[in-house]
């Protein structure tokens, strides 16, 4: 009896999956966060459009060990591709190696792993691009600084262990050292993606350095937290607050005038692109190489493919075949004039 039931279920699943051209597992760093939810729904939508099954699921805490579990489940469920935003640049390597050995395509998006354990990285922008964007936003708001005056800048984000934010910040600091010797970086603070802590920390920054001119927040919680702190202390307009976060989170502060610009990239496009590339590679057998450009139906602009070294990896990784960075066509800067255009 049980055997028959089992057979029926297996057949049922087989029939079900036969309806789909392929099965992709789309794994975020953490579920329940706006940024990833948007990427996930866009990925699932793209999957429906193309006729592939996209499963969106991930850990409830941004932990490496939890992510490994999801990778293992994907392997065990016979996924054709794993599309993942990694919580650690090297921690998932073993698990992904195992996936690759089973013939599963591995693509990363938003947050990368060691290049040899994935084929392509759907990249929002190399650290130099994003670091430069941060500095650019400050430049736009500060205008020209009279000679002899120092501009005081602080960095505020989540933690010293989060790879991308640190990579962007380090680049930004480098650019500041080269282009703006009269800018002084007074402090770098962390608030662990905790909103009240972000508000507290930002208030402390504002009070410890009362003549501060700009706070740079490449973290989606530190950014609104800092804006709130600026409003709490009635310093709107006296301090430039810039950073990365989703438009909907930044909107209240843009409307109140505390924040003039926020940056990000369309994470929906990023998620959909991962599915699209995987589809092309698996179902259509397409091969992508460094130097290519392509467009994705439904988005403007061209995706470019750069060698791994552009991200700062060792030159040896450029030798890998069919491997590289797929850069999103554009980054977004949203302001009062366009923040309503976005729905994430």
């Amino acid at each position: 009896m049980k055997k028959a039931l089992l057979l029926v279920i297996v057949l049922g699943l087989v029939v079900m999956s036969a309806g789909f051209a392929a099965k992709f597992y789309f794994i975020p760093k953490i579920i329940g966060e706006n940024f990833f939810e948007v990427a996930g729904s866009a990925a699932v939508a793209m999957g429906e459009q193309l006729g592939v099954e996209v499963i969106y699921d991930g850990p409830s805490a941004a932990s490496v060990s939890e992510q490994v579990r999801y990778i293992n489940t994907a392997i065990n469920m016979g996924a054709d591709a794993i599309l993942i935003s990694s919580n650690s640049p090297t921690g998932l390597n073993q698990a992904l190696k195992r996936a690759q050995s089973r013939g599963i395509l591995v693509l990363t998006w938003d947050s990368d792993v060691t290049p040899e354990y994935r084929d392509f990285y759907i990249n929002q922008g190399t650290p130099d691009i994003l670091g430069a964007l941060l500095v650019q936003m400050v430049e736009d708001q500060i205008g020209t600084v009279p000679t002899g005056k120092t501009l005081k800048v602080a960095f505020h984000y989540s933690s010293p262990t989060v790879t991308d934010q640190n990579a962007w910040t380090n680049y930004a600091k480098q650019i500041i050292a080269e282009k703006h010797p009269n800018w002084e970086i007074v402090t770098t603070q962390y608030s662990d993606m905790d909103f009240p802590k972000a508000v507290s920390t930002a208030e402390q920054i504002l009070k410890t350095y009362p003549d501060i001119d700009a706070i740079i927040c490449p973290d989606s919680t530190a950014f609104p937290g800092t804006a709130k702190a600026v409003e709490n202390l009635d310093m709107s307009g006296k301090v430039a607050v810039v950073g990365f976060t989703t438009p909907s989170v930044a909107k209240p502060y843009i409307e109140s005038g505390t924040v003039l610009q926020g940056g990000l990239w369309d994470c929906g496009v990023q998620g959909a692109a991962a599915v699209y590339v995987a589809y092309e590679m698996i179902v259509n057998g397409k091969e992508f190489s460094v130097g290519d450009e392509f467009a994705m139906p439904g988005t403007n602009g061209m995706f470019t493919i750069l060698p791994n070294s552009a991200q700062g990896y060792d030159a040896q990784y450029d030798e890998l075949e069919n491997n590289g960075l797929i850069i999103l066509p554009e980054r977004l800067v949203f302001t009062r004039y366009n923040v309503d255009d976005y729905h994430f």
Partner: protein
């Protein structure tokens, strides 16, 4: 009497495990794949490894929620020393040593202040994770990437296969047997039960409570670091925040396995089965498509339901036993 109760609970746990496998196996064809099941042990190895010594700690009436922080500490110390040129195995030894120091700190503070171990280890978990963060910052510019590129021999410990069975399975089995012997077959283990059961009686019967408690927390610290080192081998990368919020899962496994928060009661076998149960529960739920947040809710409900049913079952079986005793006594009286 208590022994029988414990045995019964372990049987119940085993039963729950079998039912779990049956349910998941029938709902997903991928679940009962032996290869996958064995490989999965690696995923929850670190929690199971920490739950074993946690059983000892809870039996003494204590608690250690700094275990997550200790995992990160063991990981970072090991990797940092290796990055500075030390041999990886010696570095791992130092990593274990750092765990022992953390355990020593906990035990010492708990004895000195008499404060509830929950609070002490709460404070020490902040301190320890803060120290790990500083150490990883001191590792220089690569601090935020974690330290990686560890030697293959080392990563094979958690990733390799021996006799076609993944190493984590062997590690877990060896650890479980080891702790079983420690808790149930040595004098030290027996003393722990006494201390947890009735500290005053233990004191008056000549047991050196302080020494035994410190030993227990040091063991906990060492195993916490070991768990972290295993994780590091599994990922071939070290991070300060490896342990994360695992403290609660670890305590859950120990308590579900039969350890009583009030001390004096606990079983390694129970903890072992409970760890398997919870580990495969997460895995199975994922397989049948339950989302992460639903899994969280489910786990919470399962935990509460399990402990509650244990309570009711004990109550009713006691009632039943009492009634039987009464009936026997009455019958005997009637016959006279």
């Amino acid at each position: 009497m208590r022994l029988k109760k414990m045995l019964n609970w372990q049987l119940a746990l085993l039963g729950m495990l079998v039912v779990e496998f049956a349910i998941f196996g029938s709902m997903s064809p991928y679940f009962l794949n032996l290869d996958n099941l064995l490989y999965n042990v690696g995923d929850f190895l670190y929690i199971a490894l920490a739950a074993l010594p946690m059983t000892l700690v809870i039996i003494t009436g204590g608690m250690d929620i700094s275990v997550g922080a200790t995992m990160g500490l063991g990981s970072i110390v090991t990797a940092l020393l290796w990055a500075k040129g030390m041999n990886i195995w010696i570095a791992a030894g130092f990593g274990l040593g750092s765990g022992a120091v953390a355990g020593l700190l906990n035990g010492f503070l708990i004895l000195l202040t008499g404060v509830n171990p929950l609070v002490i280890t709460l404070g020490s978990s902040f301190l320890i994770s803060g120290v790990s963060l500083i150490l990883s910052g001191l590792a220089g510019a690569t601090g935020f990437e974690g330290i990686s590129g560890l030697p293959e021999q080392f990563s094979n410990v958690a990733n390799g296969y021996t006799f076609n069975v993944p190493n984590p399975v062997w590690i877990l089995l060896i650890a479980a047997v080891l702790f079983y012997i420690i808790l149930h077959r040595t004098n030290y283990g027996k003393k722990l039960f006494l201390i947890g059961n009735n500290p005053d009686a233990a004191k008056y019967s000549g047991i050196n409570i302080k020494k035994n408690i410190i030993i227990t927390y040091v063991i906990m610290g060492i195993m916490g670091a070991f768990s972290g080192i295993m994780l590091t081998s599994y990922f071939t990368s070290a991070r300060a925040d490896l342990g994360g919020t695992s403290a609660l899962s670890v305590v859950t496994c120990a308590v579900l396995g039969g350890a009583s928060i009030y001390g004096g009661e606990g079983s390694i076998l129970g903890t072992f089965i409970a760890s398997l149960f919870i580990g495969y529960l997460k895995y199975g739920l994922q397989m049948i498509g339950v989302t992460s947040q639903e899994t969280q809710v489910f786990l919470g409900v399962v935990l509460i339901a399990a402990i509650s049913s244990r309570f009711f079952w004990a109550k009713y079986s006691a009632n039943y036993r009492n009634k039987r005793a009464l009936m026997t006594a009455l019958n005997q009286n009637r016959r006279k």
